[in-house]
Subunit: 167 residues, 2 copies
């Protein structure tokens, strides 16, 4: 049976929620990672993915500048990196300089991959559209990579940025 409640209560039922780390270079060439839960696949042919980024976040400038971005699926071992990249701003922090997280150059776009992620997807920016307090960036996937070792994806499993594998 359903009962009507405030959205803030109802949305607590969303967990586990997938986590990605999106990476785009800013106008100075600094690769800026941001941790996001609001992401989805949006097309099968061609393969495309979307991310929703808060309008106030520095990643808006970086993606708008470089017109491409990486979407990495962090592994369950990367919770600390995900928390760091999600809690600092690229406006005043070089996140990859301050947190030890190995990167490798992307193959097709001007960005980087996360060496220890479960998978990395290189995206060219196809379009963007506003939605409330966020902007949705839609990317076409032009290269895909997986880890040579089998790893589990990272999820937010409960309120308060509680991160873990989903099972």
């Amino acid at each position: 049976m359903q009962k009507q409640v405030e959205y803030s209560d109802a949305i607590k039922t969303k967990y586990p929620e997938q986590v990605v780390i999106a990476i785009a270079k800013d106008k100075n060439g600094k690769a800026n990672p941001i941790t996001l839960g609001w992401t989805m696949i949006v097309s099968g042919s061609p393969p495309m993915m979307a991310i929703a980024v808060a309008k106030t976040h520095y990643s808006i400038e970086a993606v708008t500048h470089s017109k491409c971005f990486t979407i990495a699926f962090p592994s369950s071992e990367m919770a600390e990196a995900a928390l760091f990249f999600g809690s600092k701003s690229g406006r005043d922090t070089d996140k990859f300089a301050e947190f030890d997280c190995e990167t490798v150059p992307a193959k097709t776009i001007d960005s980087v991959l996360l060496a220890d992620a479960v998978a990395n997807f290189e995206c060219t920016l196809e379009s963007q559209t506003p939605a409330g307090d966020h902007i949705i960036f839609i990317g076409k996937i032009v290269s895909s990579h997986i880890n040579t070792e089998s790893k589990k994806r990272l999820y937010t499993v409960g309120p308060g940025h509680k991160l873990d594998s989903a099972s």
Copy 2:
């Protein structure tokens, strides 16, 4: 270490992927449910969610007609309903007439809620944007509901529409 692979191989690392059932009434007033994995929250204030629907699907017509839709989080007990709603077309099937799944009227929009779902969100269509072979519908959440019993969300946990709770 990363190795470059085909997208179709890399995307196999996405599981578990959340499942929602989106419901919109068509021009004849028939409520049409469709099971979707491609969905995300897109705004916090106001709360908004997006769904990506294949351009060929009947739900495009229903959402475009009614300009509102429900997003239900099915429970882990609703795998059969999710499979049925995801494999039939509303063009030639009255899905709620053919599959026993209790509905209740929505409170604010002209749609229905799923009585046994973990949660239901009533959305008014704010905008839409094409993305490859899908259309992204962006909805503003105007009412939220949760189940009076504690239930687990349903996820796709592996290839071949393997549905279960995530843990």
